[in-house]
């Protein structure tokens, strides 16, 4: 589904990522882990078009999408969530999800101002569709709440609903469990599995080892900007290099 090849990223004299390659298999949940400063978020920002890499390529379903802008990746079926949830704070929960449906609509300034019949029908469809994703994530009762007023855990669910609204092929989640309590993390794990069951490929960067080992089919370990290991959760748990990197003996 997603193929990252030889990604290198330098910021001035600092090498954040050095020749990182891995694959995200279709229909699987792939976890990217590593100690702080390993380059996980940088890698995500490159894959999702927010940073331009110094070198290397990213392929989405065989198509070279390196240096594609996020809005273009969105139309190709790639979407992401953010570590510090990036909601549209002054808009309602429902409206947030409707922004996720932006690419599904085609009404422009003229049709919207004049409220043409097909635009009204499109709005109605978008609204219904948005409610579907609110139900999917279990936050229908918050539809009219201003997103900025949501507790963090609910915000995370909203961000997921908004991303799902794009009906992506692959969803990249940057530390989805960050800031969640254990009950919320459990709910999130179920939601991620539900996303996978609906046929969507998931890649996530995560610190919560229990969550990663529990739900991931494959794991990529980064350390100091390089790929340290790759394998199933069991393989990773038994990998001595990974253990020493985490215990700080490297």
């Amino acid at each position: 589904m997603l193929e990252v090849q030889g990604i290198t990223q330098r910021f001035g004299g600092v090498t954040a990522l050095e020749d990182v390659s891995f694959r995200v298999a279709e229909g699987a949940i792939t976890g990217i882990i590593g100690p702080n400063g390993a380059g996980k978020t940088t890698l995500f920002n490159i894959v999702t078009g927010i940073y331009t890499p110094t070198g290397g390529t990213v392929h989405l379903q065989g198509k070279n999408v390196t240096r594609f802008a996020p809005e273009r990746l969105a139309t190709l079926g790639m979407v992401r969530t953010f570590q510090n949830i990036e909601l549209f704070g002054k808009m309602t929960v429902l409206e947030n999800v409707m922004v996720g449906l932006h690419t599904k609509g085609k009404s422009g300034i003229l049709a919207s101002s004049l409220r043409l019949p097909w635009q009204v029908a499109e709005e109605r469809r978008m609204r219904e569709r948005a409610f579907h994703w609110l139900e999917f994530t279990g936050i229908t009762d918050l539809a009219d709440t201003e997103a900025g007023n949501l507790p963090f855990g609910k915000g995370r669910l909203l961000e997921t609903a908004r991303a799902m609204a794009l009906e992506p092929k692959v969803i990249l989640m940057d530390e989805p469990a960050a800031g969640l309590n254990s009950r919320e993390t459990l709910e999130l794990a179920r939601l991620i599995q539900k996303i996978r069951e609906s046929g969507i490929t998931v890649a996530l960067v995560e610190h919560d080892m229990e969550l990663v080992m529990d739900i991931c089919d494959a794991i990529v370990v980064l350390n100091l900007g390089r790929k340290l290991a790759e394998g199933t959760p069991r393989e990773i748990q038994e990998n001595s290099e990974v253990i020493s990197a985490y215990l700080g003996e490297g």
Binding site: P70, E86, F88, E95, H102, I109, S112, E123, D144
Partner: protein, 328 residues
């Protein structure tokens, strides 16, 4: 839960009484001096709504709105007074040209953010202002351009405050209605998304760059129409009406009225147009009162009049025990 239909009703509930109030207003002071002031409230509302789409919704500052207003005014003035074109045709042609111009300068300019965008639009405003002053052969220079005709339709010539009031407010009310539709649509959500988080908007597939430029151009077109209406109403234009001060005044109207509120734009425009009239008694000190009000507003009503007044009424009602305190 608010479905599509109730949202529409929700807007209609506000718009219809608002429109009726505006249309009934001249009955209160037919042909009086205040009627003339309210003609300007209409033009300023049009300009404030245009800027609010850009500043209040998309979150992009423009300190060059007076330039688009001026281009509309001078464009229509020159085409009609100098070249004898039909005023309606001139208004449409100029608006289209201003739209194209804004679209072209929007692409490079709107890549900038915050203070840099403010500076770039300010620079554009100053350039246009200089052209108005210096292109004496075309614009008449500092002494202005006169002999601009009134608009006319059928047998009616819009040559009185009473007629102009209905002409301008007709167009303004229509613009308000279309703007309300726009901000409650896919496009409106896209604009607000850009305002709240540009990166998230892009990840959601919103073509941020294009949408910003489109709304900038739309804002310029509306301002240009306001400029044309101004020229046809005054039958005379001079550069001083289109300087930097006026751009700042428009930003002030939008902020005082309420960012991201179409009705707020009306309140801001009305206050800033009416206020100087009432402050004449203070003579040279009116600017002090004006400044004090600005400081007061930004400190105590940062959401603008449109949000501040209901909040204030609520607090007073609560204080005197009419309404129980409602938990947020």
């Amino acid at each position: 839960m608010m479905d599509k239909r109730s949202l529409l009703k929700h807007e209609a509930v506000k718009f219809i009484p608002f429109a009726l109030l505006i249309l009934a207003l001249p009955m209160a002071f037919r042909e009086g001096y205040l009627l003339n002031v309210f003609v300007f409230v209409g033009i300023h509302t049009l300009l404030a709504v245009a800027l609010n789409l850009l500043l209040g919704y998309a979150g992009q500052i423009s300190l060059g709105q007076a330039a688009f207003f001026g281009l509309g005014a001078y464009g229509s003035g020159i085409l009609t007074a100098t070249h004898g074109l039909n005023p309606w045709l001139a208004m449409v042609l100029v608006a289209a040209a201003v739209g194209v111009l804004a679209f072209l300068i929007g692409f490079p300019i709107l890549k900038l953010k915050g203070h840099y965008l403010a500076m770039a639009t300010l620079g554009f405003g100053i350039i246009v202002y200089i052209v108005f002053n210096e292109a004496v052969d075309v614009t008449g220079g500092p002494s202005g351009l006169s002999g601009i005709p009134n608009l006319a339709v059928g047998g009616i010539t819009f040559d009185s405050d009473f007629k102009n009031y209905y002409l301008i407010w007709g167009i303004t009310l229509l613009t308000i209605l279309l703007s309300l539709n726009l901000v409650n649509s896919r496009i409106g959500r896209g604009l607000r998304a850009i305002h709240d988080s540009e990166v998230a908007a892009r990840v959601m597939g919103v073509n941020v760059r294009l949408l910003k430029v489109q709304i900038f151009a739309l804002s310029a077109v509306i301002s240009s129409v306001a400029g044309s209406l101004y020229a046809y109403t005054m039958t005379f234009v001079s550069p001083t009406s289109f300087g930097f001060n006026f751009s700042v005044e428009l930003v002030t109207m939008v902020i005082i009225g309420g960012l991201g509120s179409i009705y707020g734009s009306f309140l801001g425009a009305a206050l800033l147009t009416l206020l100087p009239e009432f402050l004449r008694a203070f003579q040279d000190y009116d600017i002090v009162v004006y400044g004090f009000l600005l400081i007061f507003m930004t400190m105590y009503m940062p959401g603008g009049l449109v949000r501040g007044i209901p909040a204030l009424v609520g607090r007073i009602a609560e204080r005197i025990g009419i309404r129980k305190k409602v938990d947020a």
